[in-house]
């Protein structure tokens, strides 16, 4: 059908334009602007391969955590315990390796199993005990912190072995392994969320759990699996963290939570019209990190990077909102009666 194929092409063209529109990828434009700016400001240190490598490596863990977080958020559940789960995995793997001397593989797999179990408990509390995800994971994070304190006696755990250290830090083309792990995980989660029925079920559950259930989605299962996957990713991040620190540190987990949330939420405003998505999240992590790096290299006062994080988050989202609503208003004249401004 020629008519049809024209429609197709048009849609493709329109789609491309739409994808490149400022409001849809504001973070990318901000990112480009920053790269240019800092390259002019600190030409010796900023536009270098070193910087790229450093930024990639520094943010791999935050990115993994944020990617994990995308899953429960897409399914409509908060996971406030990811930070402490990361900490738990970091301590458990160190404890298994050093105190229990269980060997590399058993320790890593055991830690992932512990992570999955925590995720399962989270999920079951939400789905079966019907506690809201916010409370469940808030409570769980307290329990996990207690567990960390119990296992580690609040002390660092050392002697993890050189092999283990290689897991995160072994360089390939100068880039440490953890970056590749992050990329593989991102692709997996992206594939599932964007290209399978399962992913659609996840978004449906997040959009309207009752409606999704009425249309045959096993929403309970979806929520539980999202939380389990999220915990697994947090555990991977925790293992990589212990590996790159060469230490199991009992205090570091919670600090990772807010950056992961910021990235996931900022990411949701990119590419997919307000839907939590992997690509946007990874981009968000690196946009924020690039800015911070540039500011640090330019010698800004200590508090400037923190300020930047906040302002960048707000500006990127606000721009997206403004431009988005302007576009929607313009398309109101379209033949379809898509309720353009949702005024009513």
């Amino acid at each position: 059908m020629p008519a049809n194929s024209t429609g197709q092409t048009q849609r493709g063209w329109h789609g491309l334009l739409h994808s490149l529109a400022f409001h849809n990828i504001s973070a990318v434009y901000i990112w480009v602007a920053m790269v240019v700016l800092f390259s002019l400001l600190v030409p010796e240190t900023f536009p270098t391969v070193d910087t790229v490598r450093i930024v990639l490596a520094d943010q791999a863990l935050t990115a993994i955590l944020a990617i994990g977080l995308v899953l429960p958020l897409a399914a409509g559940a908060f996971d406030l315990s990811i930070g402490s789960q990361l900490g738990l995995a970091a301590i458990v793997v160190a404890w298994m390796l050093s105190v229990q001397d269980l060997g590399l593989w058993i320790s890593v797999l055991g830690t992932l199993a512990v992570g999955a179990a925590v995720g399962l408990i989270n999920g079951l509390l939400i789905v079966k005990a019907k506690i809201s995800s916010f409370i469940t994971t808030l409570g769980m994070s307290s329990i996990i912190l207690a567990g960390i304190s119990w296992i580690s006696h609040d002390a660092q755990i050392l002697d993890l072995g050189a092999d283990f250290q290689e897991i995160a830090t072994h360089p390939i083309v100068g880039v440490p392994l953890s970056v590749y792990v992050m990329v593989v995980l991102a692709v997996c989660v992206w594939y599932v969320l964007d290209n399978t029925h399962l992913g659609r079920a996840v978004y449906a559950t997040g959009g309207n759990a009752e409606a999704a259930r009425l249309s045959g989605v096993r929403t309970g299962l979806v929520v539980v699996s999202c939380l389990v996957s999220c915990s697994l990713l947090a555990s991977v991040a925790g293992i990589l963290l212990s590996s790159s620190l060469a230490t199991g540190d009992p205090t570091i987990g919670p600090g990772y939570m807010l950056p992961a949330f910021a990235a996931a939420f900022l990411g949701s405003t990119q590419f997919r019209n307000g839907r939590f998505n992997v690509l946007g999240t990874v981009v968000a992590v690196y946009v924020l990190a690039t800015g911070v790096k540039g500011l640090q290299l330019a010698g800004a006062p200590v508090w400037i990077p923190e300020l930047f994080n906040g302002v960048a988050l707000l500006v990127a989202v606000a721009v997206n909102r403004r431009q988005g609503s302007a576009r929607r208003a313009r398309s109101a004249r379209a033949a379809t009666r898509v309720a353009a401004e949702r005024a009513v």
Partner: protein, 495 residues
């Protein structure tokens, strides 16, 4: 229909469901056969939606069984259109259509996005409409959403499977022509061997499409008979438990001009003028997309106006300043109860009293709760809301009763201008008459009333004159002797 053809597909046996002390279903028996359209009728809160939700496995029964096994064949597949449509608003039409279907292999199989979109376009085109299947469902109008829901229920169906289609008030948001199309689809589905369980308060539809009627009252079956053995009056009696006096409205004497709308423009509406006098009830008809479902909101100020003025008595109503509109006596009952009409998580009392009426507050701006509960009790009685437990959360009332609460909330403000969208959607015949009476009473007290409805019959009964919209402009005005259901329908279908 011969007896071999009457193959039972779903057998409901002694089904019982309690919500706390409320008995929503009381030992209900019914059977849906292949090739049969079974209509379930009953007053608001009689348990129809509960029956559907039990069939869907959403609630678990407190007693009785649901048999889905045919004589020998495979298990019957049930497909639903729920009263609140059961769509995921944050997904697009394409995505909603593909949701939860098990026919595409394991859940981790790759999606065939192109094919899905083509199929969605085709399914939607079946209903003679055309909208962006990539737009989020929450951005579609209620009627379009209904079409998505129907399309989803019919997706991938063929004669080899035993299917029962369960429709819970699918026509509440549809206009005459669309209803006809839906009815044709329902009949066709039944003729091809599926069973249909159909729920509606529009009894003439029931008579037109159903083979058998089951009537519920307070959760119990009070009638189960072939359609051919009853007529409209009979059905009304089954539902309402008595004779309902339908409104016979004589044109009231016109008072002063209350509402004057000039060159209104906004959204789909391109140019709209109307003058409504005190005591006058003006109807607005039109098919999907004609602007019928945007008009009231635009006049009220809740939807953006790009041009034009609205004058209520001696004041202009500004666009966007809803408090001013309300203070000057405007009232607006939106068509989409869930999104715009009510706060489902709050109690009926709180919803009913949510519009601020001057002079009811005590000192320190305290809400005088005893005063309020007395007032709410009166409105519950006046509108016949059941159960009479105003402290219950609104989401726990049946659809029709929710609608009554939303209406009462606005009637309570004693408005000068009453703007109604689908005022009696989902309301049973008995209650509908009551609501019509309330609307007329408000008009007679000097209010101007504008009713946008997809139900031509209602317009014909209730209104003094009816404006017919098409493509955002008034194309016809029907009044006086001409004001009949058929005439309105005729005028609103574009040539």
């Amino acid at each position: 229909m011969t007896s071999e053809q009457r193959r039972p597909l779903v057998r409901v046996d002694q089904l019982t469901k309690y919500f706390g002390n409320t008995c929503a279903l009381d030992r209900v028996d019914l059977t849906v056969h292949a090739g049969e359209v079974l209509a379930v009728v009953g007053h608001n809160g009689s348990g129809k939606s509960t029956l559907v939700k039990l069939l869907a496995g959403f609630h678990t029964p407190d007693g009785g069984t649901i048999g889905l096994q045919g004589e020998a064949g495979p298990e019957t597949e049930l497909r639903f259109i729920h009263q609140d449509l059961g769509l995921v608003g944050s997904l697009s039409t394409v995505e909603n259509l593909g949701l939860g279907s098990t026919s595409d292999g394991p859940p981790w199989r790759r999606l065939r996005k192109m094919a899905e979109r083509l199929q969605a376009d085709q399914l939607v085109a079946q209903f003679g409409v055309d909208f962006d299947v990539d737009a989020l469902v929450q951005e579609l109008s209620p009627a379009e959403q209904t079409i998505v829901a129907i399309a989803r229920a019919l997706r991938g169906w063929n004669e080899e499977r035993d299917v029962v289609l369960v429709l819970d008030e699918p026509t509440a948001a549809l206009h005459g022509a669309e209803v006809d199309r839906l009815m044709a689809v329902v009949r066709r589905v039944a003729e091809r061997g599926a069973g249909v369980l159909f729920i509606s308060h529009r009894l003439d539809e029931v008579l037109g499409v159903a083979d058998t009627v089951v009537a519920l009252r307070n959760g119990a079956v009070v009638g189960n008979l072939p359609c051919s053995e009853t007529d409209y009056a009979g059905l009304v009696e089954l539902v309402a438990g008595g004779v309902v006096e339908e409104l016979q409205r004589r044109p009231a004497e016109r008072g002063d001009v209350v509402l004057r709308v000039n060159a209104l423009q906004g959204g789909v509406i391109r140019d709209f003028d109307v003058t409504v006098h005190a005591g006058e009830i003006v109807g607005v008809a039109g098919i999907l997309g004609s602007g019928r479902d945007e008009l009231c909101a635009t006049i009220f100020g809740g939807r953006r106006r790009t041009r034009g003025t609205v004058r209520l008595r001696d004041n202009d109503l500004a666009s966007g300043d809803l408090r001013q509109s309300i203070r000057r006596g405007a009232a607006f009952v939106p068509g989409d109860r869930h999104q715009h009409g009510a706060v489902m998580t709050m109690t009926a009392t709180e919803n009913l009293a949510s519009v601020r009426v001057p002079g009811v507050e005590g000192r320190w701006r305290r809400v005088r709760k005893s005063h309020e509960s007395r007032e709410v009790a009166e409105w519950f009685a006046a509108c016949g809301v059941v159960p009479a437990r105003p402290e219950m959360q609104l989401s726990q009332f049946s659809g029709g009763n929710q609608q009554k609460v939303v209406l009462a909330k606005w009637l309570r403000t004693h408005p000068n201008l009453l703007l109604l969208e689908e005022p009696t959607q989902g309301v049973d015949v008995g209650a509908k008459a009551v609501i019509h009476q309330l609307i007329v009473r408000t008009a007679n007290q000097g209010a101007a009333v504008l009713v946008a409805s997809s139900e031509a019959k209602e317009l014909a009964q209730l209104c003094d004159r009816v404006l017919v919209l098409a493509d955002g402009v008034v194309v016809d005005e029907v009044a006086g002797q001409e004001l009949t259901e058929a005439r309105i329908l005729h005028a609103s279908v574009p040539a």
